[in-house]
């Protein structure tokens, strides 16, 4: 196209009027003449030699752009605040209810420790109070926490995170603004990860600090247990990071909300079930490295220092955690960078 005639007259072929036709102004002209009752008028327009009836003038935008972090912050709070109030991302009611339920349910140990601590039942308090195993159990306990609570929350959260943007074409709402794909993906990641983090580590912190405050623990006890709490806290971060990265990777490769949710549950439960069958049959625990939950649990056992329930060295599990997260993040990054900004 030459510069002085930006709008080449388009041949009036049938194919040229498809959705992929470049915007030339021709169709608009014809629409304006659609009042006439035959094709004659549209033929006239197509033959118009001047072809310059419309002139498009683009004016550069002269406003000031907010800093990048501020734009990203807007995306992040849009997703997280949607959990509490309207006007932000509309999470569906079951998801909100389930998150509420999980927060309550994962604080059963707080309630039990408080109860038995207050009424002065030292033996029962020892079962529920803060200790090495209970801190591990609060984060990594399999039943019910890592089968019914955290993975399901993660599944519900990642369900439509990226996939529905793909299905509905709403990613255009982001990409038509000065937001790059990395920011888009990382803010979505951070939003899911933070919600999981608040649920897991928030309740863990409540558990630990309520015990200190209410039971009046001394400094000696705090110095003893704080490293354990810190390692459990790190475990919570690893766990929520792992669930989020697998979930968002699944969300980015699919459309609709069914596949990512089921996929996450299937990966977490399926690999663990496989590994436990092999463990039961042949007394070999090495297959647990393919189970994201077990890999994280093994690393956490090493970190917190509880009794190991796996036979293979924990470094293998550590490598597995790194590999699983690396694969998931690679998948997420490559999918988001090639995401078509359209309704797919």
């Amino acid at each position: 196209m030459s510069e002085d005639t930006p709008f080449e007259p388009v041949e009036s072929k049938e194919e040229s009027f498809g959705a992929e036709t470049p915007v030339t102004g021709q169709t608009k002209m014809q629409a304006a003449w659609s009042g006439s009752d035959d094709e004659k008028s549209s033929a006239q327009v197509a033959q118009s030699q001047q072809g310059q009836i419309f002139e498009q003038i683009y004016q550069p935008w002269t406003g000031t752009l907010n800093p990048r972090w501020m734009r990203n912050w807007a995306i992040l709070r849009h997703h997280i605040l949607g959990i509490f109030k309207t006007g932000h991302r509309p999470w569906n009611i079951p998801t909100k209810l389930f998150i509420f339920f999980v927060i309550i349910a994962s604080m059963t140990d707080v309630a039990m420790a408080l109860l038995f601590g207050m009424i002065g039942e030292p033996t029962l308090y020892d079962i529920w109070g803060v200790n090495r195993d209970n801190l591990y159990g609060h984060v990594m306990g399999f039943f019910p926490r890592n089968i019914l609570y955290y993975p399901i929350v993660a599944a519900l959260l990642v369900g439509g995170m990226i996939s529905e943007d793909r299905a509905h074409g709403t990613s255009a709402l982001y990409f038509s603004r000065p937001i790059n794909r990395f920011d888009y993906a990382s803010m979505k990641f951070l939003a899911v990860g933070l919600i999981l983090f608040f649920i897991i580590n928030g309740t863990l912190a409540v558990y630990y600090f309520v015990d200190i405050l209410v039971m009046g623990k001394g400094w000696a006890w705090i110095i003893d247990t704080f490293p354990m709490f810190l390692s459990a806290f790190i475990c919570g971060i690893i766990l929520s990071f792992t669930y989020t990265s697998i979930g968002l990777a699944l969300s980015s490769i699919s459309r609709g909300r069914f596949f990512p949710a089921i996929g996450l549950v299937a990966i977490l439960m399926g690999t663990r079930a496989m590994a436990s069958i092999i463990d039961a049959l042949f007394d070999k625990s090495v297959l647990y490295v393919i189970s994201p939950y077990d890999a994280v649990a093994h690393v956490c056992q090493a970190l917190i220092g509880t009794e190991m329930t796996y036979d293979h060295p924990w470094v293998w599990s550590l490598i597995s955690v790194v590999v699983i997260n690396g694969l998931a993040l690679y998948l997420l990054a490559s999918r988001v960078s090639s995401l078509e900004v359209t309704r797919e």
Binding site: T27, S42, Q44, I53
Partner: protein
Amino acid sequence: MMPDVTQHGTTQTQEWQPVANTPVIMFDRVSKSYGRINALGGVSLGISGGVTGILGMNGAGKSTLFKLMMGKIKPSSGAIKLFGTDPWKNPAPYSRVGFVPEHEKLYDWMTAFDFITTFARLHGMTRDEAETEAKRVLSFVSLSDVMHKKIGQFSKGMRQRVKIAHALVNDPELIILDEPLQGCDPLARTTIMNVIKELGAMGRTVLVSSHILHEIERITEQIVILHRGRILALGNSHAIREMLDQHPHKILLECEKPRELAKSIIKIEEVTGMSFAVPEKLLIETKHLGEVHKKLPETIVNSGLKVTAIDNPDDDLQSILMYLTGGML
């Protein structure tokens, strides 16, 4: 056969018999509300034969009307008869109906031919019958040359024609087209309009919905105007047009030298008045919008002036509605 206690229509297992001397479609004081929103309020309508245009703005209740006809939703009150049977929970009369939904989504992975063949077989045709019929309807909408291509590669107009072809495969007596012209370019528009006109000429009952009066006028004279869930006017479009022609139209031209352009435009006899309300803009008044639109391009080209935009400040339908409701839009 499944027992159905809430069955409203005739029993599904009986051989369906058309009731003689009833309109193809009967709406008897039909209302439909979604929660507190009244989508349709007390519509009574009987249609048999010919092409009927259902006109209305977005949200006027056109799609609700069609969905009620197709038994997709249940009326809140009133009775609907499709060939004398209640269509809710009773798909039996659909063997005589062809429905073109407004949804744009199609099975992109299928070829047009496969799509139509598959859905023809749901009418109880054998594979061979279905293939013959598919070829027939595809040539009817002039898509024979591309029928073995994937629908995903089609343009919007072609997709609309595939949808129409799919609805015609059972040679229906009643054809319902929900916004068939939406999003089509002029050529596809013309093809589709011709198809609809031809169907009307073949003696079928055709219902077409649109929100553009001129489109409907090019297809049919029999129109129903819906507004806010009620029938505002119904009958011959000429009569409605008569009323409308008393009502002046405006065309807004944006150009560099409006006064010079006005000199050439005043030669169009249908133009009744002109004004220069805003600089670089020319406002034409007329009572014969179609005629003016026909002559305008030639006049502009002959004048050699640059026109940057043409706009109808009052949309046709809106002006009709304005007229019919006495300005209470």
